[in-house]
């Protein structure tokens, strides 16, 4: 590997340390990422907007601050990119839609303010499925592609965040997860994706999909980087009383405490279920065995309701999305991607009684998850039923209700139980298929106990070789 490639794949934590120690300059680091973006993003389409000039100016300011001996933030001079669902002052926020092609933000979202305060350089805004809904057929800003195999889906909705983290097109990224939108691309792309507890990270300035489940979080190359980014973006938002007012817990100082004594429940329905691909199941069970060898008490747990979670989630999130999009559906329907429009139209016609039943079913599913988290510190599942599918397979027409059910509900049942329960969950790489595609392991914890989730993820990451693999050079 060339030094520039090694530099680009270095963790954000280590890059910040190298900048602090003057082993590398912010400008040189930024140029390494810009060079990779120039060479690779014409194929991968991770970015919608690259802030080249502004980022170079910011890097120069970072270098001047270092020269003046100023106190540096924990991300000083580190290039970070964010999902194009999050407002950055002066830049457009498209949410991956033609409808918002000219939507220029007038202020920074709180998470952007916090990244800037930590010294981060905003490198650009990342591609996503339209309005973070998933299933986009024709991406208006380029078809995002999986860096491990460009014929395969990078996952969504934070597609560009997963690609940019995995392919080292940024030091680290932010995504947003309503039903799996951070964990799915992390799993498909072989990255680390943390969905924080709902209420921990300010949601203001992020175009909503479902207000009771939307959560901004990091997608990174290492667990330590996820902890670093979370420590920067988490915390009360005085302007949003729906967010938690208590100070966030310390997620960094206990990262290396190990898993000895932790109780981990392997969710039977999602691990051994008929929809789980055998290679994925075997990799996840091997990961559970690794955690057991590291000292965790691993046992199986049954959560019978989780297989309903995908449909319940879609009833809630799609109905809310349909409500928000009614005016545009009526006046600008053809400006949506075909799949988004059809999904919103179907959700618009869902009977209110079924929606109401789904709100109650959400409580039952959440109760089941939370009860299991009384017995266990963590729940363990595959992040997805299988590895990344071919892009073409997701673009074929829906041919029957059975086809629709299989494509839209089953997969979401792996991630959405923890969205419905408002608990944190992380996806970390736990192996590769024979064809070379990453497999994701999901660990979910108690509300606001990101520290334990990250601690177990870090212990597993350090005990396995997966983080050392890099996608093939393009």
């Amino acid at each position: 590997m060339s030094p520039d490639v090694d530099l680009a794949f270095t963790s954000a934590t280590e890059l910040a340390a190298q900048i602090h120690d003057k082993r590398i300059s912010p400008g040189a680091l930024l140029r390494a990422y810009l060079d990779r973006i120039d060479r690779m993003d014409g194929t991968l389409h991770a970015y919608i907007t690259v802030c080249r000039e502004q980022a170079l100016d910011d890097a120069a300011r970072c270098e001047q601050a270092i020269a003046r001996g100023e106190r540096l933030g924990p991300l000083h001079g580190v290039p970070i990119a964010v999902k194009d669902q999050i407002d950055v002052k002066g830049l457009r926020t498209t949410a991956g839609s033609r409808l918002l092609a000219d939507n220029v933000s007038t202020s920074d979202a709180p998470v952007i303010t916090r990244l800037r305060a930590a010294g981060a350089i905003l490198l650009g805004k990342l591609n996503l499925t339209e309005f973070a809904m998933g299933g986009t057929q024709k991406f208006p800003y380029g078809q995002p592609r999986n860096p491990w195999n460009t014929e395969h889906d990078p996952g969504g909705s934070s597609s560009g965040s997963g690609i940019a983290a995995a392919a080292a097109l940024a030091a680290a990224t932010l995504g947003e997860d309503t039903g799996g939108s951070i964990r799915s691309p992390a799993s498909n792309c072989g990255a680390v994706g943390l969905r924080p507890t709902w209420g921990l990270v300010p949601r203001a300035g992020c175009i909503p999909l479902c207000s009771s489940m939307d959560a901004i979080g990091p997608i990174t190359r290492t667990v330590e980087d996820a902890a670093l980014l979370l420590s920067i973006i988490a915390g009360p938002d005085p302007a949003d009383p729906r967010m938690r007012s208590a100070a966030p817990g310390d997620v960094q100082s206990h990262l290396r405490d190990g898993v000895a004594g932790l109780r981990i429940g392997v969710v039977r329905e999602l691990t051994h279920g008929p929809d789980t691909d055998p290679e994925t199941r075997d990799a996840v069970l091997a990961a559970a065995e690794t955690l057991r060898k590291l000292g965790a008490n691993v046992d199986e747990v049954s959560l019978p309701l989780v297989m309903l979670a995908g449909a319940v989630f879609m009833a809630l999130a799609d109905s809310e999305g349909a409500g928000m999009h009614q005016n545009w559906l009526k006046t600008r329907g053809l400006d949506y991607d075909t799949a988004t429009r059809r999904r919103l139209l179907a959700a618009s016609l869902l009977p209110a009684a079924l929606y109401h039943q789904a709100t109650r079913a959400r409580v039952l599913i959440a109760r089941e998850v939370l009860a299991a988290l009384e017995r266990f510190d963590l729940l363990l599942t595959p992040t997805q039923p299988g590895p990344a599918a071919r892009i073409a397979s997701g673009q074929r027409p829906v041919t029957s209700k059975e086809d629709a059910g299989g494509r839209f509900f089953t997969r979401r049942s792996y991630t959405t139980p923890f969205n419905l329960a408002a608990t944190p969950a992380i996806s970390i790489p736990c192996g590769f298929t024979k064809s070379g595609l990453p497999i994701g392991l999901q660990l979910a914890g108690r509300r606001y106990d990101e520290a334990t989730v990250l601690r177990a993820a870090w212990a597993y990451e350090q005990a396995t070789p997966w983080r050392e693999r890099r996608p093939p050079s393009l």
């Binding site: 709902w198 209420g199 449909a311 879609m314 009833a315 618009s348 629709a404």
Partner: protein
Amino acid sequence: MAGDNLNVWYDPEGDHLEIVFERKTGHFEDTSLENVMRKRDAEGNLLAISIFHLSSFAGTRSDPESTSGHDLCMTTDLSVTEVRALALALGLTPTDDDLPEVTHRLNAMRDALAPLSALPLDTAEPAPPTP
């Protein structure tokens, strides 16, 4: 299912309701609901639903406040025509190309949510998570 040919027939003397979606050779089969049978063709397409003793069927609802029980599990596929009519009633104008997929998606959603009525939903008060 051909929604264009929908026929609803009620025999008050026999207290028998029949909803015919398509007149075609098929076979009747039991459902999980007492007094209710459905008719399918060889490909499994739903052709008709028959409800016997309709008035007593309504009386089997033990608790009108309840949202539990198999009595709410029944779903009948909507046709493209019906979905178009529903959409138009709401001021939405799906294209002809949209309608088959919208119909599949909506029917899939209704099917997927049908099992919810068998859950103890009465015990769960819907409330958003508290931060």
